[in-house]
Amino acid sequence: MNENFTTDPSAVTVALPKGSRWQPAIWVILPLAVLAAAIWWLTATNPLSRFDNGAPPVESLTVERTILDHNGLRLLVRAGGSEPMTIAQVQVDAAYWEFVQEPSGQIARGETAWLSLPFPWVTGEAHLVTFVTNTGATFDHPIPVAVATPSVTSGNLVSQAILGAFVGILPVAIGLMFYPALRGAGPATMDFLLAMTVGLLGFLIVDTLEDSLEFASQAAAIFQGQAMVVLTAAASFLILMAVSRRQGSPTGVALATYIALGIGLHNLGEGLAIGAAFAAGAAGLGTFLVIGFTLHNITEGIGIAAPILKVRPPLWAFAALALLAGGPAVVGIWIGSLAYAPQWSALALAIGAGAILQVILEVGALLVRSRGGASAALGSMPVLAGLAVGVGFMYLTAMLVKI
């Protein structure tokens, strides 16, 4: 604050009479001093002791990562109680087991610790971990299906990348291959395709937000999952709008790139979900499901192609767009399979939701401009049909992958 005043002498001389250049600083320091005094008074004299009714402290424990390997179980827990927490004992399937906590001792509010148990878990079966704190409170953590947590080996990475390519990159590339066929499209077809893009993006933003909120609900309370998702999505939307509008509304390749980015972030979420399913032992990812994802995502390629039908980008641009939109699925599977804490997945998906909202707005603006007005655009048959086909196709193909 202060530096602004000193480095901007004109403002100082104009706004404030000489001699009182510290006055604004005082009005910053004073409220802070009152705050500091209040905190000191609360901690030093403890006037809240009258509220101490002998109730035990509120305790909260969130398991952020669950690693199963040949040594047993390793769990990353985050404490969220009103006071530092102590994990006194750990049960697995209603039996006490030795455990090692790292770092040991109390876990302060918001802090994490790793717990290792030499528990002989059984592949494919369910286990229940119960943490008992020093107050006797218990926290359950179910392991629905025990499978070894995938580790980072080149073999794992390659097979996961192949799966990611099938789910993300291949369908987008196939969609983009419709480009030559669509080049001769008339204005009505153009409107239909752009509206279809808006429709499919509309489906994706709902899907992404839903996934993001679901991850957020698994995160520790300290992260305030829902607020975090909404704020992150809004921030991501505003930043992308600010960047994209620097040279007016984006069109052509620029718009296609933004669409690819939004779709890419959504596919990151899809990858995270698949990877998390691997980590959670739900590896029943059949051929049918993979084909379902491929079909589901083909329209994404057509959507990316729509704004560039009237320009003629070089071939490498198509490859780059396909990678931008589909590649994140690979990264998502890699990250998801390592069972990272849910708040990071929620964060990534919230950024994706903001990005998708931005391209919905931009593609919508393009439609409105070409039609010469919002009401004209919304009233036209190709646009309405495109919106319906976009949402409908995504919804129906999603049936293939939702179980």
Partner: protein, 376 residues
């Protein structure tokens, strides 16, 4: 989020039974291993689990399936090992009519106790310990129990024995509020292994908070001429009794979350206490266990002795066994009895005992007898 599984993962109950069975098998396998691997001549007393030893003795038997850390017996004010043989015989005087009068003093108090390493429980106690003092008297004596309530709730002492209604320790008959005092008076009968507990309402809460204890009435040999030797061996203080190793054991459990399900099971309160500090048994001296079950919320509890069999006297009110040569008995709440067995023909080693409900065992109700050659 997409669900990748064709069934509801949270319905894991059907897997539980199989797991329990598998766990039990692994458990027994390890135990068998433990008995052979354990070195003979396990001379030194109780605590084998010192920090320097590579594998503590008890670890051989159950691997890593145990609570972590130690309970602070000093802070608790009672030591489960000392509790085994800590009989409260009160003070004895003679009444004008020549009968013996035995007086006990018992105070109810609130106390936070450590029931498993690091886990505190807000208990209600008799004389600051859970279980309460193991009262021991002789058949036919007049008993006077001076009971003071220093706790925060109304409490009583309800004795399982024969007495007048006004001495029953139920509401209206010896149930007293905080700060009050009551004297229970009755004759010690029938002989046997009995118990007392608080009978204030709600009963389940008052019992499971820790208000219970053993009440043993030894038989008077003069009243049982046919089995005078047996009666004398049960009578504390006689030479016949001195050769027995008598142990007071109360099977109890604690519901630390107050949801009607126990988190910790134990014999004498502290989960796994006799697993970590095995009970030392001189192999040539017979063993007599005064056992009572006061576990709340579960309908029954049980006692299983490894590698040996015992005679059982249900309620202890007979001088001949009610069950001969068994290795498991079960008790409903407040049921109790006397177990008699010997390791005289066994080789020294660690012999396990536990509830034969695997769940109770694995949640803390498990211990070991450390059978050693007699030391002079």
């Amino acid at each position: 989020m997409r669900s990748w599984l064709p069934f509801d993962l949270r319905r894991r109950g059907f897997l539980g039974a199989g797991l329990l069975a598998a766990g039990g098998a692994a458990f027994t396998a390890r135990t068998a291993l433990g008995q052979t691997a354990h070195p003979a001549g396990h001379g030194g007393g109780t605590a084998q689990a010192d920090a320097n030893s590579v594998v503590p003795a008890h670890r051989v038997a159950h691997g890593a399936m145990i609570t972590v850390g130690d309970v602070d017996d000093v802070r608790n004010g009672f030591d489960p090992t000392a509790m085994l043989t800590d009989w409260d015989t009160g003070t004895v005087s003679t009444l004008p009519d020549g009968r013996r009068l035995r007086t006990f003093e018992v105070t109810a108090e609130d106390k936070e106790i450590e029931i498993a390493p690091g886990v505190m429980f807000p208990a209600w106690t008799f004389n600051g310990r859970v279980p309460g003092p193991a009262l021991r008297a002789i058949e036919g004596e007049q008993l006077r129990i001076v009971f003071r309530n220093d706790g925060s709730h109304p409490h009583s002492m309800h004795f399982h024995g024969i007495h007048a209604a006004r001495m029953d320790g139920v509401p209206g008959a010896g149930l007293i509020g905080p700060g009050e005092e009551f004297i229970y008076e009755f004759e010690a009968k029938p002989f046997g292994c009995h118990l007392y507990h608080c009978h204030a309402l709600p009963l389940a809460r008052h019992i499971h908070k820790g208000m219970y204890g053993l009440f043993v009435v030894d038989p008077d040999p003069d009243r049982h001429p046919d089995l005078a030797d047996v009666a004398r061996s049960r009578l504390l203080g006689t030479p016949e009794n001195a050769r027995w190793q008598e142990l007071a054991m109360v099977m109890n459990a604690f519901d630390t979350t107050f949801d009607g399900e126990n988190e910790f099971y134990a014999c004498n309160t502290i989960a796994h206490c006799y697993a970590e500090k095995p009970i030392r048994i001189e192999k040539h001296r017979p063993v007599r266990v005064y056992l009572v079950n006061i576990t709340e919320f579960d309908p029954i509890n049980s006692f299983h002795l490894h590698a040996n069999f015992f005679d059982y006297y249900d309620q202890g009110t007979t001088l001949t066994p009610t069950l001969k040569t068994v290795d498991v008995i079960m008790q409903c709440q407040a049921q109790r009895g006397i177990l008699e067995f010997t390791f005289a023909d066994h080789e020294p080693g660690l012999y396990m005992f536990h509830a034969h409900q695997s769940e109770f065992t694995e949640l803390g109700w498990m211990g070991m007898f450390d059978v050693v050659e007699a030391v002079s």
